[in-house]
């Protein structure tokens, strides 16, 4: 296992020159020099210098799948907290039910949890979400945990490798929202295991070869149970 650590950069740290590299996400250019703009991990590939943020709010993108908590039912729409800087609007036209005007509370109410898709993000960052897509519904039962949104890619793994591992070894149903909320349903034992493993992934998200490490861990764990 490779124990090499990734480089952590802080805002205003000099990363390179525009003549040699291209400035990617999490960076800004001033006087021909590239600087980091957030606290994050340095990611240098052939062309670009990127900084993956370690902390911060979820930045919504169109077609992201997210888990939202309903904040308010209004006459013909709901306000949903999706962990972004702004609340998202869920219009009655975007739900699979036929909702009469003013009867939104019959379907979704304060505190209800939905799996949703980001429908649009405009320039003013006004957010719209929808429930009209495959596998989107109001959540009943299960547990929800919060993780740092920037660590979601690590929890999903390359092409979903990490998440399928978790599903395979714990017999749980898991849904990872891009906004850093994770829904888990299954047996109590399995849920506990998933939560512990995700905590571990978060803690060690900066080390290499993490998927293999987690697989070994889960395998050993499974043996102990038998």
């Amino acid at each position: 296992m490779n124990l090499e650590k990734r480089t952590i950069v802080i805002p205003s740290q000099l990363l390179g020159d525009v003549k040699k590299d291209k400035a990617g996400s999490g960076t800004f250019i001033e006087n021909g020099k590239i600087y980091s703009e957030v606290i994050g991990v340095l990611n240098r590939n052939k062309e670009y210098i990127n900084v993956t943020p370690l902390k911060g709010r979820y930045n919504p993108n169109q077609n992201d799948f997210v888990i939202g908590i309903v904040m308010e039912a209004m006459q013909s729409s709901w306000l949903v907290d999706i962990n972004a800087a702004y609340p998202a609007l869920l219009h009655v036209n975007e739900v699979p039910w036929d909702v009469e005007f003013g009867e939104t509370e019959k379907y979704l109410n304060h505190g209800d949890v939905v799996m949703a898709k980001v429908l649009s993000v405009d320039q003013e960052k006004k957010l719209n979400i929808t429930l009209k897509d495959r596998n989107l519904y109001k959540v009943k039962g299960g547990n929800i945990i919060d993780v740092e949104p920037s660590k979601v890619p690590r929890i999903i793994g390359k092409k979903g490798s990490m998440i399928s591992l978790l599903k395979k070894y714990t017999n749980c149903r898991i849904f990872v929202g891009q906004n850093g909320r994770i829904w888990i349903d299954g047996e109590d034992k399995g849920i506990k295991k998933v939560i512990n493993t995700i905590e571990l992934i978060q803690k060690e998200s900066l080390s290499y070869g993490l998927t293999n490490k987690i697989e070994n861990l889960l395998k050993n764990d499974a043996k102990d149970v038998q």
Partner: protein, 239 residues
């Protein structure tokens, strides 16, 4: 104001510092659980706690700017932070400091990334010993980094002043009370731009230049400590 206290003795100051020496500074990052970012800072006998909430939708709505975020810094002194109990709540002094700190922070935060949002910075002075506004801003800057807010630079503040006709760095309590002038500044250490400059008392143009240079030098020293504290926290997380 003249007094019987001698502020200088054998080239050393009251608390034994050299003229260009800072007080002791301790910075802790991420001390509050519910805030997005936080920082606890001790600067001599100053004790300051800064917390950052947001970016979140600005309320009331008419304060929103459709193009960029607004920064609400709130500087507050605890009733028990000074020798005589301070009447709690905002007063003229703390409102002024809140405003100048907000404006200094606005300059370095990349506000265009969060239209309609507000970034709330609460600075709580728990113990005051002179130089709380620069201590507050220095803590606020660290808390902003801890909150993962995109910034052009980490601003940093430091004061210089004149006591018994001599320009010195980072005034202590007695030096502030009985000295001739106080010059707190905030800079952007990467570019050396001045984001905040206030002055109390009188300085000749020559003394002013000298004090400004000294304060900028002090800022860079504090900036190093800020960065070390941030790195220490996040490298520990990464192990």
């Amino acid at each position: 104001m003249k007094s019987d206290i001698k502020l200088f003795e054998n080239g050393k100051r009251l608390d034994g510092r050299r003229p260009d020496e800072l007080r002791k500074i301790k910075i802790e990052v991420g001390v509050l659980h519910r805030a997005e970012g936080s920082c606890y800072l001790e600067w001599g006998d100053n004790k300051v706690l800064a917390a950052v909430y947001g970016p979140r939708e600005a309320v009331p709505r008419h304060t929103q700017n459709p193009l960029r975020a607004i920064v609400n810094a709130r500087y507050n002194m605890a009733a028990f932070s000074v020798d005589d109990r301070k009447r709690p709540g905002p007063d003229r002094r703390s409102r002024e400091i809140s405003k100048v700190i907000s404006e200094a922070l606005e300059y370095v935060i990349l506000l265009e990334k969060f239209p309609r949002a507000s970034i709330d910075v609460n600075i709580e002075v728990l113990d005051a010993e002179a130089g709380t506004r620069v201590a507050g801003l220095t803590a606020a800057a660290v808390a902003l980094v801890d909150a993962g807010i995109p910034m052009k630079d980490i601003p940093v503040g430091c004061a210089a002043g004149k006591i018994e006709g001599k320009v010195v760095l980072d005034l202590g309590k007695e030096e502030d009370n009985y000295g001739d002038a106080d010059l707190p500044i905030v800079i952007s250490p990467r570019t050396n731009e001045i984001l905040l400059l206030q002055m109390d008392g009188h300085l000749t143009p020559k003394e002013f230049d000298e004090a400004l240079d000294l304060a900028i030098k002090g800022c860079h020293e504090v900036s190093k400590m800020q960065k070390e504290a941030i790195m220490k926290k996040f490298e520990k997380e990464a192990q």
